[in-house]
Amino acid sequence: MAEITMIEAIRQAMDEELARDENVFIVGEDVGQRGGVFRATVGLFDKYGGERVIDSPLAEASIVGVGIGAALYGMRPICEIQFADFIHPAFNQIINEAAKMCYRSNGDWTVPMVIRAPYGGGIGGGLYHSQSLEALFTHTPGLKVVVPSSPYDAKGLLKSAVRDPNPVLYFEPKKGYRLIKGEVPEGEYTVPIGPANVTRAGSDLTVFSYGMMHYYTLQAAEAVAKEGIDVEVVDLRTLYPVDRETILKSVSKTGKALIVHEDNLTGGYGGEIAAIIAEGAFSDLDAPVRRLAGPDVPAVPFSHPMQDWFMLNPAKIAEAIRQLARY
C-alpha cells in the first residue's frame, strides 16, 4: 500500500469519481488551470477539461447555488470553497436551499452535492483564514457533515459524499493536508458516511475528536500511554448524522469522556456529544464529561504566539487527559 498525504488522497478521490461518473464535476475559484489554492485539484483540469473542472468567478453564493441547481438537474457537483471562512456568503444557499429541498418536495427533489471547504488554524492564516465552522452546519437536518482525519478516510469518505444523494459538507483539516500521511490501498473502496471509528482501543477513558484534533489526540494518547493511562480514541468522522451507538458503547466501557475540538467551546459541537453521553450513558460515568476546545474568542489572531495560545496541540490534549484520568 502506498503512503500518501491527505491532500493527495482528496485529489485521488475526485479524480476517480470524475472518471467513474460523467455527471460529476468540480466548480470553484481557481480550481481549473491553477489547481486550487491548496492544489487539491491539480492535474484534473488537464485530464477532464474546463467543462468538468470549472473555474468560477469570485462568487461563493453562486458556486453553491449553481451546485444546488445542477444537482437538482441530476448532476453531481463538487463545489470547492477556497477556505471555510469564505462559505458565509453561501450560507443562505446551504441552509435555506440545499438542506430543505428534499423535505419540502417530499423527496421529489434531491441535492446530491458535495461542498469541500478547508478549515482550521495553525497555518498563520489569521482571522479570516483559520475558522472551524462545523457547528454552524451540524445544527441543520438535511445536511450531512463530514470531517476526515486520515488520508484513508479522506479518500473513502469523499467518494461516499460524491455518491450520496444528499448535500454533504466536507470539511478538510488544511493544516493536515501535507502533514498527515497514511496508507491508502490501490483501487476502489469507500468509507461510509455515518459510523464513527474507534482508532485506538483503551480502558481508562475515551477521547472523542475529529479532523486535525483527532490526529493530535492519537499523539497525546501515545504520550500518556507511557505514563500508564490507557486511552480509547474515537474519531467521529461524520458529525451529522452522529453515531450515537459507538459513542455510548465506548463511554460505557471506559466510564470517562473527553471531547476535543478546535472550534470554540460555547455552542461548539462538543456540547452535543456531551449531551448524548449525559442522556444515554449517565449511569456508566465515573467522572463529569469534559470538553477541551478553542477559546471563546471571535477568531484566530495572526501573531504566532497568539495563534499558539489559541490552538490545541498534543501537549494540551495530554494534559486534559491526565486531569480526567486522575478524577
Binding site: 475559484e29 468567478p57 497555518i123 489572531p301
Partner: protein, 320 residues
C-alpha cells in the same frame, strides 16, 4: 503643485516598494507567516488616489493593504511590526498583513473577505450623509471583487441613497489566477457602474499624477452632493497573488512588458525631465527612505510579542 508635493508622492511610492521588498525577504526567512499579498507595481494607485483626500475622508480597502496603510499615514514601523505580528504593530499583532487599520487616521482597514467591505463602506458613507459632514468614503477593491453579490448590492443602494462614496476598482487584470475576462462578463469593469447609473471613469494606474487628478475631481463632485462615483484604475501586480504563487496563469513576457512601465521609474524620470528635482536630490531622498525602512524593520524585529492575555481582550467593548 508644489515641489514638496511631488517629492512626497515619490517618497510614498518608493517607501511602499522598499517595505514590500523587505516584507518579501522577511517572509522568505520565515519571520512573517501565513499569507502575504504584495502591492509592488500598484503603488501609484493608492498613492495618487489618497493624496487629495481631506482628513474627513475615510479609506477602506481589501487585503492588499500595506501600501494603502502607508498612504493613509501609518508609519513604516507600525506596518512592518504588524507584518511580524508584534505588539507594536498597528493592529497589535492580532491582524497581520491583511487586517491593518487605524481609525484615528480614518483608515478603516484591510478586509480579507473579498467584497464584504463594500456594504461597510456604504454604511460609513451613510453616516456622513446623515450627519451632514463633508467626508467622502473611498472604497478600494479588486477586479475579482466585482463579481460577488456584495458589490452589486452596495453600488445599487449607494446610488439610490445618493451616498458620498467613491468606488475604486483596482483592475490589476487578475483575481488570484483568473484573468478578468475569464471571470467578469465585462472586462471594462467601470461598465458595471453604468448598470447602476453611477458616473464613472478610468485612469492609468501607472501614472500617479493622472490618478491623483482623477481622484481629486471625483472627490470634489461627491463632496458637492453629486452622489457616488466609480473610478476604474488600470494597473498590474508585478508579483504573484500572494507569496508562493507559482503564477502558471500568466507568461513572464507579460509581466516584463508591464514592468517596463514601472510607475516609480516613470515618475522618477518625469521628475527629472520636467526639472522638478535633480537626480542628486532624488538619490538623497531614496537614501532617506532606505533608512526609514531599515529602521522600521529593526524596530519591528526588536519589538515584543503580544502578551498572552491579549488573546482574550476586546471580544466585547466593555464601557460605553
Amino acid at each position: 503643485m508644489e515641489k514638496k508635493e511631488y517629492l512626497d508622492l515619490y517618497h510614498q511610492m518608493v517607501a511602499i516598494r522598499r517595505m514590500e521588498e523587505r516584507a518579501a525577504e522577511l517572509y522568505q526567512q520565515g519571520k512573517i507567516g501565513g499569507f502575504l499579498h504584495l502591492y509592488i507595481g500598484q503603488e501609484a494607485v493608492s498613492t495618487g488616489l489618497i493624496a487629495p483626500r481631506t482628513p474627513d475622508d475615510r479609506v477602506i480597502t481589501a487585503y492588499r493593504d500595506h501600501g494603502v496603510a502607508y498612504n493613509c499615514g501609518l508609519s513604516a514601523r507600525e506596518i512592518i511590526a504588524e507584518l511580524l505580528g508584534k505588539a507594536t504593530g498597528c493592529s497589535k499583532g492580532k491582524g497581520g498583513s491583511m487586517h491593518m487599520a487605524d481609525v484615528k487616521k480614518n483608515y478603516w482597514g484591510g478586509h480579507a473577505i473579498v467584497g464584504a467591505h463594500l456594504p461597510l463602506a456604504a454604511g460609513l458613507a451613510l453616516g456622513d450623509l446623515y450627519s451632514k459632514t463633508p467626508g467622502v468614503t473611498i472604497c478600494m477593491f479588486g477586479d475579482g471583487a466585482t463579481n460577488i453579490g456584495y458589490f452589486h448590492e452596495a453600488l445599487n443602494l449607494s446610488k439610490v441613497w445618493n451616498l458620498p462614496v467613491l468606488w475604486v476598482c483596482e483592475n490589476n487584470q487578475y483575481g488570484m489566477g483568473t484573468a478578468v475576462d475569464r471571470a467578469s462578463a465585462v472586462s471594462d469593469i467601470r461598465k458595471k457602474a453604468d448598470g447602476y447609473a453611477i458616473l464613472n471613469d478610468e485612469v492609468d494606474g501607472m501614472d500617479v499624477l493622472a490618478v491623483k487628478e482623477a481622484s481629486a475631481k471625483m472627490l470634489e463632485e461627491i463632496r458637492a452632493g453629486g452622489g457616488p462615483r466609480f473610478l476604474e484604475i488600470n494597473t498590474y501586480r508585478f508579483r504573484g497573488h500572494s507569496m508562493g504563487d507559482p503564477e502558471r496563469y500568466r507568461k513572464a513576457d507579460e509581466v516584463h512588458r508591464y514592468q517596463e512601465n514601472d510607475p516609480i521609474g516613470m515618475f522618477r524620470k518625469y521628475l527629472i525631465a520636467a526639472g522638478i528635482a535633480s537626480e542628486e536630490e532624488i538619490v538623497k531622498l531614496e537614501d532617506v527612505i532606505e533608512e526609514e525602512v531599515r529602521d522600521a524593520v529593526e524596530f519591528a524585529e526588536n519589538s515584543p510579542e503580544p502578551a498572552p492575555e491579549e488573546l482574550y481582550t476586546n471580544v466585547y467593548f466593555e464601557t460605553y
